[in-house]
Symmetry: C2
Subunit: 345 residues, 2 copies
């Protein structure tokens, strides 16, 4: 992956995948740039056919981050993808069409120093493993698939591998990674596949990826959402921050409000959240509705407000600064946030 | 909690809290009804002052689920809340104003068979514990606070307790519950406090609550979001379903799409998700963009489609039914979902 290191104790790498038509170079590069701006460190691009190869080459030449070529069914696309300059390729060896073709891929990957992800997915298991998956759960079948492929790669003395074992079932995914972690030592790419739309997909991804990271399993991750891929990056960093693994951007501590709240807190929290998206500095901002937990949270945050009746108490660095009228809360908060960021830099 | 059982191996109870003005009986009851329709089984209502007591009484009389009175600062509100018929009260004994007042609450709770939640929150720790929280982490301080109060309640021979230890820091919350679980055997109410806006709050809640449930800790839960409280219920069930603890409503398996997808999948997935919200039957519906994992996921789901070029393959009960033109996919999917639900009932 060039300068980007994955595994062996390096920080967990955040990645995503474009959902544009790969043949559309301009739109695909624009999405890669958007993802990179959001914190994405590695981008995967589907290579569905030969016509996508020249586009891939162009995309790789202009992308600000390493590009992984996502290959299915046709080993020639893997070879061409590597020639086009892909930093890595993702294959599911079960659908490449036999060992001879996989060998060709291995030979070129070795020559070019390209990393291969063995991307096992419960939705595309080899035929002979599907019945077992149905009867005994996907985890065992996914691990069996991975071990089979790993054995072949090891026989070919190729170790520049990453492994993923994705299912749309959180428990089966978690179990599969746990089982494989006991058997092999390759870097793991974590993800819950086909996790669903924004909120439910975020929940499933947080659970699956989070349970594994909490156990020390995982080296890179991709949150899969049926949503703008930039949302995947936000969710990824929210997971990493919550587990104390990486901090990027501003964390909003905000309350659900209740019958005690006397300011219009929801629009304020949403407005602040949107306004601070462009910052990468790791700050904590509390936006709280009342005096029960408000002052405590606002004091613990870098910047915060605790709402009262039509006003808010403004806090920064643990100190109460002043009372601010409700209509001025947004500007005051933003001003303190910017000041704090400047002081830190 | 009347017929609703919490703890001792009963199903994890899903709860939320109104964010309406409690004095506004009509709006508060409407929100309670909305929450109940979404699957909420227990609703907490803030009781900020004496004027809220008659409203609370009226709300309890008409609510379809047990009501918990949320009390801070004034022990008389706890007494009045119990007289008004609250099934439980939530207090933070540290802000009630001394043991004498807490004793009065205990005496009446015992008389009336009312459950008390000791709701420790990192944002409102007792003064003497705050310095320790700052230096050594909130978890230890929260546990110390809880143990102090539990000791007092046990001295008074009152055991109808639930405990919560909420922080906006996921790791501190998880650690606190883990530590307390080693020391006491009361039912735990789980939650990450002030978790933030919809998506980031869902991620933090899924991580904190999920890590604990996965370890067998927790009896009831409240997801806190700066959002419509019905979203809290959806997130709660998504967590429980993903961990195999409870199933309610329709799970959407949908892909993030990539350069291979040749149908407009995002609006379809969102439209289906919205249309099936009213169903409580636990079905799995797959909405997939291409032939890589599409047929596998669609076959594994109760109902599913796998997209092709301007069309989709429709699946039900593991069987491929027919090709459907893209413009008809929504209706066909919905038709199969309704048929499947009718057959199950």
């Amino acid at each position: 992956m060039g300068a980007l290191k994955i595994g062996s104790g390096h920080p967990i790498v955040v990645q995503s995948m474009t959902n544009t038509d790969t043949h559309d170079i301009r739109r695909t590069l624009r999405q890669i740039n958007q993802l990179t701006a959001a914190g994405c460190e590695l981008v995967r691009v589907a290579v569905p056919d030969q016509a996508a190869i020249p586009a891939l080459k162009e995309i790789i030449a202009h992308a600000p981050v390493p590009i992984i070529a996502d290959i299915h069914f046709d080993y020639r696309l893997a070879l061409e993808g590597m020639k086009a300059g892909a930093a890595g390729i993702r294959i599911n060896p079960g659908n490449i069409g036999g060992k001879e073709k996989v060998s060709r891929i291995i030979d070129m990957a070795r020559d070019k120093g390209v990393c291969i992800r063995l991307g096992v997915n419960a939705g595309s298991l080899e035929k002979d493993l599907r019945e077992g998956a149905r009867r005994k759960g996907q985890a065992g079948a996914m691990v069996a698939s991975a071990l089979r492929h790993i054995a072949f790669f090891e026989k070919k003395k190729f170790a520049n591998l990453k492994i993923s074992l994705k299912s749309s079932d959180v428990r089966q995914s978690v179990l599969a990674y746990q089982l494989l972690a006991q058997k092999v030592d390759y870097p793991f790419h974590l993800g819950i596949t086909e996790a669903g739309t924004l909120v439910s997909g975020a929940v499933k991804s947080a659970l699956g990826i989070g349970l594994l990271l909490y156990q020390g399993i995982g080296d890179t991750l991709r949150v899969s959402l049926t949503a703008d891929p930039r949302e995947e990056i936000k969710v990824a960093y929210e997971i990493l921050r919550s587990l104390g693994l990486r901090r990027r951007g501003i964390e909003i501590i905000s309350c659900p409000t209740c019958g005690r709240c006397q300011i219009d807190l929801f629009p304020l929290a949403q407005r602040v959240e949107k306004a601070v998206q462009r910052y990468t500095e790791p700050l904590k901002v509390a936006i709280m509705g009342c005096v029960v937990n408000g002052p405590g949270e606002a004091r613990d945050a870098d910047v915060g407000i605790a709402g009262g009746k039509g006003l808010g108490l403004l806090f920064a660095k643990g100190q109460q600064l002043r009372k601010v009228e409700e209509k001025d809360l947004f500007q005051s908060l933003l001003g303190e946030i910017e000041k704090t960021i400047q002081e830190k830099n």
